[in-house]
């Protein structure tokens, strides 16, 4: 937290701006990348989105008021960029949400994108069956171990609703594992 404050302060000094921002990227790139990857699934798409996220962060960091944590702020940008990307991709493919889930599902089945463990593939396939919001909440909670309060800030949803979403997501995934 203090480290983030130091990085932000260094970013606001022209001489150390580049170095500070490079450190911010190093610190958060993996967390942000995987958060995006779990939403957009494809690596090339995630690569585009993660770059856009950090470019937006570069442009907006001077105006960042530090009311929230830097990580939360970056997650929020990543979430918005990912959702915008999904929407634009849906629009460009002229497909419905259900059809788009099948597109993602095909990517998930492509084993070259995974480490190869069957259970992980199965979990990813189960996630593709979830509604968008439940999938996001599950990803944030389960994979990123994010607190509900932080998720609430990122997604703009109440803690109670997030807990309910996570509960529903877990039930559906358990059901998917039981049936398949």
């Amino acid at each position: 937290m203090d480290e983030d404050k130091d990085l932000i302060s260094a970013f606001r000094i022209p001489q150390s701006r580049d170095t500070a921002f490079r450190d911010i990227i190093f610190k958060y790139q993996r967390k942000i990348y995987y958060q995006i990857r779990r939403i957009v699934i494809d690596h090339d798409d995630a690569n585009d989105v993660v770059q856009n996220v950090f470019i937006k962060a570069w442009k907006g960091l001077d105006g960042f008021n530090e009311e929230s944590r830097l990580s939360t702020w970056l997650y929020r940008i990543a979430y918005n960029e990912s959702i915008n990307f999904i929407k634009s991709k849906k629009a460009s493919l002229f497909v419905s949400s259900d059809e788009f889930e099948h597109v993602l599902d095909d990517h998930t089945t492509d084993t070259s994108g995974f480490t190869g463990e069957q259970i992980e593939q199965k979990l990813q396939k189960a996630l593709q069956t979830l509604p968008e919001k439940q999938r996001l909440v599950f990803n944030m909670k389960y994979f990123s171990s994010m607190k509900y309060e932080e998720m609430s800030e990122v997604l703009g949803t109440s803690v109670g609703a997030l807990k309910a979403s996570y509960h529903h997501a877990v039930k559906k995934i358990e059901e998917y594992f039981r049936v398949n």
Binding site: K31, Y34, H43, S144, I173
Partner: protein
Amino acid sequence: MNNKMGQDKEQDELFQVPEGYFEQLPDRIMMRIHQEAPLKIVHSGSADGVQKTVIKLFAYAASIAAVFLVSIGISNYFHDGTKSLAATLTANEIIESGVLYDMDESLLAEHLTTEDLDDVVLTIEDEDAITEYLIEQQTDLTPLEF
């Protein structure tokens, strides 16, 4: 359902990434940032700014020139123009032209001589017009006693 898949899932790389991806990513991002920055300046920054400033300066200069020319025109009309008009016209011509209604009386007094006034032959209409003018000017019409 607890986090059974791993301790720190964002580190476990459930999804594969190309080798060396995270080592190169900061450089790629910084390169894009610096590529976009000069473009931004060229497209929407200084060039446009300079153009706008030049256009504004021209507009200011044109406005100042226009005001200057108009003021010269007005000045000539009220001074040189009226003087030459008064100097070239006879008294009757001045009265007939109606210029008197817009003219400063002091300017008239300056240019009209007694001889000029001898030439003036007033009709009843002229007298009515003069009376009307004097009433408008709230002039005391009580006959003077010498």
